[in-house]
Amino acid sequence: MKHANRIITALILIFLYIPMAVLIVASFNTGTDITEFEGFTLQQYVRLFQDDKLLGLLGNSLLISILASGIATVFGTLAAVGINSLNPKLRKLVMSLTDIPMTNPDIVTGISLSLLFVFVGTTMLGQKESLTFWTLLIAHITFNLPYVILNVMPKLKQMDASLTDAAMDLGCTPVQAFFKVTLHEIMPGVISGAIMAFTMSLDDFVISYFVTGNSFITLPVEIYSYVKKPVAPKVYALFTLLFLLIFVLMAAMNLMQLRADQKRKETRVRVETEGMKVFKRLVAVTAAAALVIGCGWLILHPAEEKVTLNVYNWGQYISEGQDDTIDVIAEFENAYPWIDVRYSTYSDNETMYTKLSGGGITVDVIIPSDYMVARLIAEGMLLELDFSNIPNYAYVDEAFRNTAYDPENKYSVPYTWGTVGIIYNTKYVDEADVTGWELLWNKKYDDKILMFGNSRDAFGIAQYLLGYDVNTTDPAELRACANKLKEQRPMVQQYIMDEIFAAMENEEAWIATYYAGDCLTMMENNPDLAFYFPQEQGFNMFIDAMCIPTCCQEKEAAELFINFLCDPWISGQNMNALGYSTPISAAKDYMDPEMVESELAYPSEEILVNATSYAYLPEEITQLVEALFQEATKLID
């Protein structure tokens, strides 16, 4: 029995720590593939410390965690003292009230706080930008408070109430009694509360995501938008360091407790007490100094006389100067030194739309996809562009003007474009079978097929296969598509999005459909992979375009930024790094020739003859498609 217990304990520990071990090992790996250890290197750590952006985000996260946990500890401790002095009935009531935010799902807390901040900031105070660093700080303090109270409360209850009476009896005012006696008694609870609050703050994503604008971003929020591409190995290095920080913090706390317990048993020597006092004062002074410097930095930092331009883009969708590429934002800021770019990211069109329509943030430039541009135009959420500020628009190819989503070229300037096709593994798939979209329905490859995990793209494929218009609003046609997808369901291994990289590269699946630019990346990593355009049946071609939303504050600077991205040299360098296609042919002169000649990145006119793009569908059709998709792909119970 004892043996069994030990084995179970060991298994649990292994289970808990294996993910961390994998991450730590990956951070020292020379290769980028997490499944294969190629050699030991510290290169990822060097890259991490060269990456000012990532370090800046880490700094933001640490700043918010330290400030929020510090303030929450002070107020939480005071609140606990107050609650403890209430009569028992009221105390119980207040305690359950303070516990609720802890059990509340984060997403509920996040959204309700966000609504409150926008209401107060925008509606009552008339601010243009109500979601800022300060709202983020207030939100973090809010969700940290219960943890502090929860840790301090039991210590207060354990404390002999006559200790404070005794202190007052000996001449202490209530405030002195708190600092000279109560605080010493409850200190272990205060410290563990503070550490808990700090770690909660540091790793919070959900609440932060809803209450912050694009002016101040924390690390978890940024990392979330990295899902478009595989996570860069330097992020593993960052996580390893964060894990070590928490580990050291927890170990230090436990050691302190252990030493305190031991001391309690021994007789104390006076000199040691003095030493302890000096140490405690040192810690207090350091913490206070850090707070003051932090606040000072915050207050002084935005005081520069600069125009701030808020750019809101997909994650990993601009060249950031890694591996001999250019840093587009830095280049822009060099060219226009009076403009300071605040760059933030989203993971998909719908997220961006939700955030924008929620209000309370200032955004000057966004880069949505075609159908989303149409929706934003239809809902009056975009400003007309002043093309006299965008002379580089002249470089944009004729094929990307007068598009379906912006027929009069009033609201948007194309940024990139791309296509959707079939990727398959030549080792397992018979070339004779590769004839069109029906490959994804081929029973021969049962359970080796991957399908789009989003309704629009999945229906698109069914529509091309059945010969319908991809923008059809006919419910009968849509139902037929749903039936086609239902027919495919038993053969599908998984409905996925970004997980496709690993699944195809590791040959877990053999056939899939995805965006051509990303397929290019997968083919580089596994030479057995091949790409196919079902050009007879047709396929989706998408354009992501730069727009200026109505909440814009710096329209002229925004237009300068759009113009800058249309510069052929900048666009060429940018697309080189991203792997997507440029709508500016002149940019190809500055690009890697291999990329320019790729049929995949730049399919010829004849391949594109049947390519179509998605239009904005009426709301009820979008909902119908979504419902049919859920029904068709639902797992068999």
Partner: protein, 373 residues
């Protein structure tokens, strides 16, 4: 005449509509050792906490040197308290605990050193300066608590059942110690206890309280010998209390017999309570006794036997050094000085009958007393 220090005027205290103190009038003199004595819930600790400033009375006045101090907080009063469970600060050593009040008052370091060492001498803890308070025994912790209060040279020291947590032997030692310290320091002690023996042996003045009211104030001997009502008679020591009638001055009738006594000043034929202390009763052969009864139980108590004896259906407690077996018929003799007469009160008929007496009775009441507050 000693100088008056503190006066309580018509003190009333209510918690949630429940009346804890019901019109307390009391004064405390300089250099006096005064004890508030009563059972649990009688209001004695509440009275002490009002004097200490931890509670504000619902109505009535607290006067220090003639000035009202109802709203003066504890840290501005010239009193210090020794708490029931000592309330020593666990994060400080013995020296720092004692020096706490002086440090708060920002007294000169050298003076603090001198005064703390002086106190350590007085309470007999020299050499214990740097010990952690948790490493001390109960008695030693109690001494630290006393030193910590006295080092501030208060005019009045409040002690809230300070010996309740100590074992019997230590309690006796500390009683003597406390009395010695009080005399050496020459200050007023206000002492709260439910232990009548403690109260009688240490105090200059005893205040017996029950149900939020003062039942009797007096010197220990007076309280014992001349209890004012059945409650006091029963609470202070053991008493047999009987219904009687005062026929005339020095003449009382009970149990169908006339007895001589030393009391006077009652109306003719006024019904009274008659108190007879168990140790005052002389046992004689049946034929010589005023009353004749049968022994129903005997308990050996060390110094004496507690005998329960039945007289015509009424059971008496008698304390004697001679053994009489159960079932023996004995006679008793009552001298005039053994009989105390009290006016009838709300407590008449509630105490003084030993029909349900058992040896555990004493311990039960003592435990109940310990639970106060």
């Amino acid at each position: 005449m000693a100088k008056e220090l503190i006066r309580l005027q018509d003190l009333v205290m209510e918690f949630d509509g429940e009346r804890i103190l019901d019109g307390i009038n009391l004064y405390f003199n300089d250099h006096e050792f005064l004890t508030l004595l009563g059972p649990s819930g009688c209001g004695k600790t509440t009275t002490l906490r009002i004097i200490g400033g931890f509670l504000t009375p619902t109505s009535g006045k607290v006067l220090f040197d003639g000035k009202e101090v109802n709203d003066v907080p504890p840290y501005q009063r010239q009193v210090n308290t020794v708490f029931q469970r000592y309330a020593l600060f666990p994060h400080l050593d013995v020296y720092d605990n004692i020096a706490f009040g002086l440090n708060v008052a920002k007294v000169d370091k050298q003076e603090i050193h001198d005064r703390v060492h002086e106190m350590l001498g007085i309470v007999g803890l020299k050499g214990y300066e740097n010990r952690r308070v948790e490493s001390l025994s109960g008695g030693q912790q109690q001494r630290v608590a006393i030193a910590r209060a006295l080092v501030n040279r208060p005019k009045v020291l409040l002690l809230d059942e300070p010996l309740a947590a100590l074992d019997l032997r230590l309690r006796k030692d500390m009683q003597n110690e406390l009395k010695r310290i009080q005399q050496a320091m020459g200050i007023t002690f206000i002492y709260v206890t439910h232990d009548q023996e403690e109260a009688l042996s240490m105090s200059d003045t005893v205040v017996v309280m029950d149900k939020g009211r003062i039942q009797q104030i007096g010197r220990p001997e007076d309280i014992y010998n001349e209890p004012k009502n059945a409650f006091v008679a029963d609470f202070i020591g053991e008493s047999n209390i009987l219904d009687g009638t005062m026929l005339a001055d020095y003449k009382v009738r009970f149990f169908g017999r006339n007895f001589e006594c030393l009391d006077k000043g009652f109306a003719p034929n006024e019904p009274v309570d008659v108190v007879i202390r168990p140790e005052d009763i002389d046992i004689v052969p049946p034929e010589q006794g005023h009353l004749v009864g049968t022994v129903t139980s005997v308990t050996f108590k060390g110094l004496n036997y507690d005998i329960i004896c039945e007289f015509r259906g009424f059971k008496w407690l008698i304390q004697t050094t001679d053994f009489h077996p159960v079932g023996a018929t004995i006679g008793i003799l009552l001298n005039p000085e053994d009989i105390h007469i009290m006016k009838k009160s709300e407590y008449s008929g509630m105490f003084g009958d030993y029909s349900s007496y058992s040896a555990e009775y004493d311990e039960l009441t003592e435990d109940a007393g310990n639970e106060e507050d």
